[in-house]
């Protein structure tokens, strides 16, 4: 094979690779105006305009521990709820606390109905569809979300948790999640864990 042929073939391969990368990138761009995941862009919070919230993270025992954060203040309650859940999903700052949910479970869509009941859909992936949790972990995971929502957003009256879009009797075989859930202050630690 002549050098010229080789050059042309190599050039073609190089451009093909570039084309693949561009094609993949275009394929990733959503065309729809209806995002599935809850995404709110992160922006710096101008001083004094944020909302101070308490995020309730599972401690190493059987209690929830509050961490205070400042999140951007939103004019609409559903956006504020999204901000709050994003902040909770980002996890605790303290290394002694745990994220409310394992990595394979993420917060999907949210909806607030006219009675101000918040629906929070959790995406359970793969084996997490039936988590092998003890009741302690189940209680802390569920009420980490429920307490964070209800104790920071008093407009919301109750939380209904869904799993992959469906309401389940229970997530891990203990707590009844078929009904709207209210806050449980008894789980909140009054001292450090």
């Amino acid at each position: 094979m002549s050098g010229r042929k080789l050059t042309i073939i190599l050039l073609a391969i190089l451009v093909a690779l570039i084309a693949i990368v561009i094609g993949w990138w275009i394929g990733q761009k959503p065309e729809s105006e209806l995002p599935v995941e809850v995404v709110v862009p992160v922006e710096p919070i101008p001083e004094g305009t944020g909302l101070l919230v308490d995020l309730y993270f599972p401690g190493s025992g059987t209690q929830l521990v509050a961490e205070q954060r400042e999140v951007p203040r939103e004019s609409e309650i559903d956006k504020q709820l999204t901000r709050l859940l994003q902040e909770l999903a980002a996890g605790p700052e303290s290394i002694e606390l745990f994220a409310p949910l394992p990595e394979e479970i993420t917060v999907g869509w949210i909806h607030i109905n006219p009675a101000n009941v918040a629906y929070v859909d959790l995406d359970f992936a793969g084996e997490a569809a039936r988590p092998a949790w003890g009741s302690g972990q189940e209680i802390l995971s569920v009420y980490s979300i429920v307490n964070t929502v209800l104790l920071n957003l008093p407009e919301i009256t109750a939380v209904i948790l869904l799993s992959n879009g469906q309401q389940r009797p229970t997530f891990a075989g203990h707590l009844d999640t078929s009904r709207p859930l209210l806050a449980n202050r008894n789980l909140i630690a009054t001292t450090e864990p």
Partner: protein, 527 residues
């Protein structure tokens, strides 16, 4: 000069000799083809991460009476989906994007249904309707599955849908209004009047509240005219009025009505109570049952089972195994030492739904229900036992009120007519036993603490699914933390498990003695 491309040995291409510039042009063409072909090989991007393949798509026919309307459709492995806009245009409704453009809201009259491409579910108020597949965004608008149309237009406007896949035709016809049957019960217990509307089939209805009245208004359906059974006179509900279109409760002044639904059969329940503080509903609701009996049957529920392992310890010990071992030993010890019948919800490694466990206890007419579990949290430091009884809601205020009723009497007359109604309302049955459940939980926790030297984690309340439907005092005992390696090791020790069981036997014996009015537990009961 020939340029042979050997990408395929079976069908080699043969390009004819061309000048160098022309060859460059060939290469450029190849590159151009790659650039345009690779993105086009991908399906149109969609926001659904698990987008189903489309078997076919195109334009189908929507038959609406004599009209034939073209409608966009697609067929996935889960069935057909249809362009929603055609139904909104021809059947009615207002469609708009929901908050943050994450969902669609379709309003028919005063009812709004919410759904979106993120989930296979439709919500209406607090009602949730699963659908077979998620709506699909498409160029011609959102495509939705047939059961979403049946949920929205079928339930709300009595439309019936029939899809003929061969003819690619969707027929829509309006059904006549259906006649529904209802039975009405009314009972007054401890300051709360409960009105139960039981339906043979679930009606379409809305609840409308006006001062002094609560009305159940049927949508499309009509109530069957039947002789009205006389209801007992009541101090909180003055009248129950029936028309084909509605059932109306006329309330006394200063009352409030909470409503909720129960399934199988469908029941719409109203709790009516005075708004004054002296008759707070939660206190009244937690009143113990009006009849008492000796403890004859105890149902022990070994938590989890089958593919539901429960929590798993760091050494691989599974919660379901330990709970079954504990339950089997507990049955033997109880039957040895007390004149009681003990039933296990499972005697093998099998999976059993939570509601079935409770239903079994109710069918056995159990006097006590004890669910055994082993706890687990993230982190390995938590240790000790804890005992739960049910909370109707996970609300602190309610829990406090429940605790305040601990000393309410548990005596009553046999054959109380209210007892039957309590059984009808069995999935709220535990609300009548909270005080007794709390008493049992306290004794269990006390015995576990004393005998085993475990850290006292106390008696707690949580809305455990397995306890809610129990029509008897019911507790859930977490016998230690499998997430703590030391406790996991101890739970494998038969002697330690025997100590745990003896603690439970002592607690049950003490509870039995208190409930049956014995001065002290019988000697033979002491392990």
């Amino acid at each position: 000069m020939e340029l042979e491309c050997s990408t395929s040995r079976h069908a080699p291409w043969r390009w004819y000799s061309l000048p160098v510039n022309a060859k460059r042009l060939q290469s450029a063409l190849v590159v151009f083809c790659l650039l345009i072909s690779i993105p086009s090989q991908a399906e149109p991007p969609d926001t659904q991460e698990d987008l189903l393949p489309v078997y076919e798509s195109g334009v189908a026919t929507l038959e609406l009476g004599t009209r034939k309307i073209p409608i966009g459709y697609a067929v996935t492995p889960l069935g057909p989906v249809f362009s929603l806009h055609a139904f909104v245009a021809n059947l009615g409704g207002e469609l708009k994007l929901g908050p943050m453009n994450q969902s669609h809201e379709l309003t028919l009259g005063t009812t709004t249904f919410t759904f979106g491409p993120g989930s296979a579910v439709v919500t209406e108020g607090t009602e949730i309707y699963p659908i077979v597949q998620r709506p699909r965004p498409a160029v011609d608008g959102l495509k939705v599955p047939l059961d979403l149309l049946e949920t929205v237009y079928g339930e709300q406007m009595s439309y019936h849908f029939q899809w003929d896949a061969a003819a690619r035709t969707l027929s829509v016809e309006k059904l006549p209004a259906k006649t529904i049957q209802a039975e009405i019960d009314l009972v007054h217990v401890q300051g709360v009047t409960t009105v139960v509307l039981q339906f043979a089939t679930q009606p379409r209805y809305r609840i409308r509240r006006t001062p002094g009245q609560v009305a159940v208004e049927f949508i499309g359906d009509r109530l069957e005219a039947r002789p009205t059974r006389s209801l007992p006179s009541d101090q909180l509900v003055r009248q129950v009025l029936q028309t084909p279109q509605s059932i109306r409760l006329v309330l006394s002044p200063d009352t409030e009505a909470n409503d909720y639904t129960l399934l199988d059969p469908f029941r719409l329940v109203f709790d009516i109570y005075k708004t004054s503080a002296t008759t707070a509903p939660e206190i009244a609701r937690t009143a113990p049952p009006s009849r008492t009996r000796a403890i004859q049957t105890i149902v022990i529920d070994p938590g989890h089972g089958g593919s539901d392992t429960g929590a798993v310890g760091s050494k691989g010990v599974e919660e379901k195994t330990i709970t079954l071992l504990l339950a089997q030993t507990l049955r033997s010890r109880l039957e040895e030492r007390l004149p009681v019948r003990v039933v296990l919800t499972r005697t093998d490694d099998v999976e059993l739904p939570l509601d079935t466990r409770t239903a079994l206890a109710n069918q056995q007419k159990a006097d006590l229900f004890i669910s055994l579990h082993i706890n687990s949290v993230r982190g390995s430091s938590a240790r000790g036992a804890e005992t739960y009884f049910s909370s109707l809601q996970a609300s602190d205020a309610n829990a406090a009120q429940s605790a305040a009723t601990e000393n309410l009497s548990n005596t009553g007359e046999d054959g109380d007519p209210l007892y039957d109604l309590q059984l009808i309302l069995w999935d709220l049955a535990q609300s009548h036993y909270l005080a007794e459940s709390q008493r049992l939980a306290s004794l269990v926790q006390e015995e576990l603490n004393e005998a085993l030297g475990l850290r006292d984690r106390g008696v707690k309340q949580a809305p455990f699914r397995v306890l809610l439907g129990a029509a008897m005092p019911a507790v859930l005992v977490e016998c230690g933390f499998i997430s703590n390696p030391e406790e996991e090791e101890r739970l494998l020790d038969p002697a330690y498990r025997a100590d745990l069981v003896d603690s439970l036997v002592r607690a049950i014996t003490r509870y039995r003695a208190q409930r049956e009015g014995l001065d002290s537990p019988p000697d033979e009961a002491t392990p």
